[in-house]
Assembly symmetry: C2
Homo-oligomer: 410 residues x 2
């Protein structure tokens, strides 16, 4: 059964497509360019909300503030986001600043502070220029809209070294009502399993129980955002936030609802499209790398192996060079720390077999070169050692990755 049968993609749809959501963004002066750097999403009713956060020990101040807001009621009315400054490792002042962002946003949008989530991304360890932030927040109401331009301005405002905006929207029918799920995300560097410098925002007009939404966002993250890696680093600021307005009028979704599977598949699809877009837009990347592992002793084991392959600097460099160097793939598999039978591994690059039963297969180097020069490279590994499967996404390692990161602050 293809998931495509359960929902359809809404072309051009973004976070304002589900009923009840406005979005907007503007430039307040945190970025040195004139690109947008402050944005918000507002829901006209209290939205059931759920979030997952970075596992980094050094959680940035906005993470604490958002957790605080969600602890109050499990609903939100708005989220305010800035780029250009992560507000991380900024001590008591940083925390006060994040709370001030919450307070000021609540005031201009006419909601209460605990209805507001806060997210930040950018440089670590510098205090926020709060005069610019405050001035920007006061300008937010004027730029918020339910149309595509509002979503566009929002998407632009959350980017840092990203080259392209990342958004997606799907729709499906639940209880005879059209339900939409949309998402926007940013992330380009410091991207690794267990959340990264990645911000993601999912809006939906579905009615859903908060427990169901929380468990869905966690499960979907495990197989999508937590399966991408750009450079092995995990940021202090990651957050994926979902808000459900309930305005489509369906009966409240829980795992027992007859249409749950369809909704969950659609939700995962939104997360997967955003995650793949982040991997493809990895700093300096020229191609998306998709690693599929099957035959592992468990799904968890397959995930660990897939992430080790997609995170290997040597594999990533070889993909950049369009070099069918499967020896580096086998070396990555072998160091993943997972059970592997060293005699039974098959590896394909796309459709091209390069290793069968752990032995090299003679393949057409020209064909392999042509395949590896495409914009998506699939590395398919069958360990023949169990039933576990996983897919991970990443990108190649290029001169531009080094250039971008050799002088990010300056």
């Amino acid at each position: 059964m293809g998931v495509a049968s359960l929902f359809k993609v809404v072309e051009g749809g973004s976070v304002t497509a589900p009923k009840g959501f406005k979005a907007g963004g503007l430039h307040c002066g945190l970025k040195k360019t004139t690109r947008n750097d402050l944005a918000a999403i507002l829901c006209e009713v209290p939205a059931v909300a759920a979030a997952v956060y970075t596992t980094n020990v050094f959680q940035a101040a906005p993470i604490k503030v958002t957790q605080d807001s969600l602890a109050a009621s499990r609903t939100l009315r708005a989220v305010v986001v800035n780029s250009g400054n992560a507000n991380a490792c900024t001590g008591k002042q940083g925390e006060a600043d994040a709370y001030a962002m919450r307070e000021e946003t609540a005031k201009v949008l006419g909601v209460s502070p605990s209805d507001v989530a806060v997210a930040s991304t950018g440089v670590i360890g510098e205090l926020m220029k709060m005069d610019r932030v405050s001035s920007g927040i006061s300008g937010l109401p004027a730029v918020m809209s339910t149309d595509e331009d509002g979503a566009e301005q929002f998407c632009q405002a959350i980017l840092t070294t990203d080259l392209v905006k990342k958004e997606v929207c799907v729709s499906l029918v639940i209880d005879d009502r059209e339900v939409k799920i949309a998402g926007a995300a940013k992330g380009s560097g410091m991207i690794h399993p267990n959340m990264a410098t990645m911000l993601g925002f999912v809006t939906t007009d579905a009615a859903i129980h908060p427990d169901a939404l929380q468990s869905l966002i966690k499960d979907a993250t495990d197989v999508t955002f937590n399966m991408i890696t750009v450079d092995g680093d995990t940021s202090t600021n990651d957050m994926l936030l979902a808000m459900a307005s309930g305005l489509s009028g369906n009966k409240e979704l829980t795992e027992k609802h007859p249409d749950w599977d369809g909704f969950a598949a659609a939700f995962r699809h939104v997360c997967q499209v955003l995650a793949q877009a982040i991997a493809r837009d990895g700093e300096g990347a020229t191609r998306l790398v998709e690693v599929e592992v099957s035959g592992a002793v468990s799904d968890l084991s397959a995930r660990a192996i897939a992430k080790t392959i997609v995170g290997s600097s040597l594999v990533k460099s070889a993909v950049f060079g369009a070099d069918a160097n499967w020896g580096r793939i086998i070396a990555a598999i072998g160091r993943a720390g997972e059970p592997v039978n060293p005699e039974t591994v098959d590896i394909h690059l796309g459709e091209i077999a390069v290793l069968t039963g752990s032995k090299p297969v003679t393949f057409d180097e020209d064909e392999a070169l042509a395949y590896l020069k495409g914009d998506t490279v699939r590395i398919v590994v069958d360990l023949k050692n169990g039933e576990g499967t996983a897919t991970a996404w990443g990108c190649d390692l290029t001169y531009d990755y080094v250039r971008i990161n050799a002088a990010y602050r300056t």
Copy 2:
């Protein structure tokens, strides 16, 4: 107590400096250039021997052969090494080829096959050109010598993408006899904790019990070779082999010998110098990065954190760019999966304080830039959370790393 008081460095000394050892190398045609690619060390008496190997699941054929030789008697007479082909993932034929290398080397050197260790490094998954190897082996006796040129030819032959040879020699007095310990190593890419594409050979004329040598080589590796990372990848071929001729005439060393601490310190020093040399010569590297972690809950925890920092692509890129971006250091600490108090971390770059009690310190950017442009960058982290300490070594991530690895096979 400085370790320097326990032993002295022998300038220009290499693996033939300890009594009883010959070495040599030649070009047999495994490398495309005319550089040496086959080499051997021969001991005139049975040498007590010990080794540690890669933890990669896919161990190359020569690893098995060496384990086989050492299992026979715990002494060796010789080791034969080739570069240009790793003889890994080469199946039954590869194993037969590695045994043939052992057999042929034993024959031309006049020893028995189980007296010979085999080591290989190079491309994975291609069969050895055994006609060239055999012809090379037959030429080995003519090039083996006890002088520095023999050691020089050996050191050159084991290199792959290395830019410089790596060798060291120290001497100390035990039981009124001069004892020398010398080492040679190669390794440049696919270098990561728990052994990597790294071959190391230690010779000594000390008399030592095989159990003591095995436990020493393991302990020394844990704090030296296993604390370096170039790119997070671990090869299929790593091996560190120690051979002790006993010809200096000291009483057999064990942990109970009164001079054990001095010998162990000298042995660790040899390993550390070689490990640092490998890190400094990391593929594309322009500088050595040394990360010192203290105040962790245990030494093991400190090691994990030090290796996470030194392995971070973002930290490595920042060092290449001479950018004092300590935010990336804190992000690496925070994702290492080890206990950390997020309020108490101090970070210095060399002598320059950049973070105190997890809060940014205003520092002179010009001074930091000048420091980071040096050929060694020390990142000093005090977690103030326990007594655990560790030091790890790595290098910066540069355009040249990408260039070298984008087309290694071709």
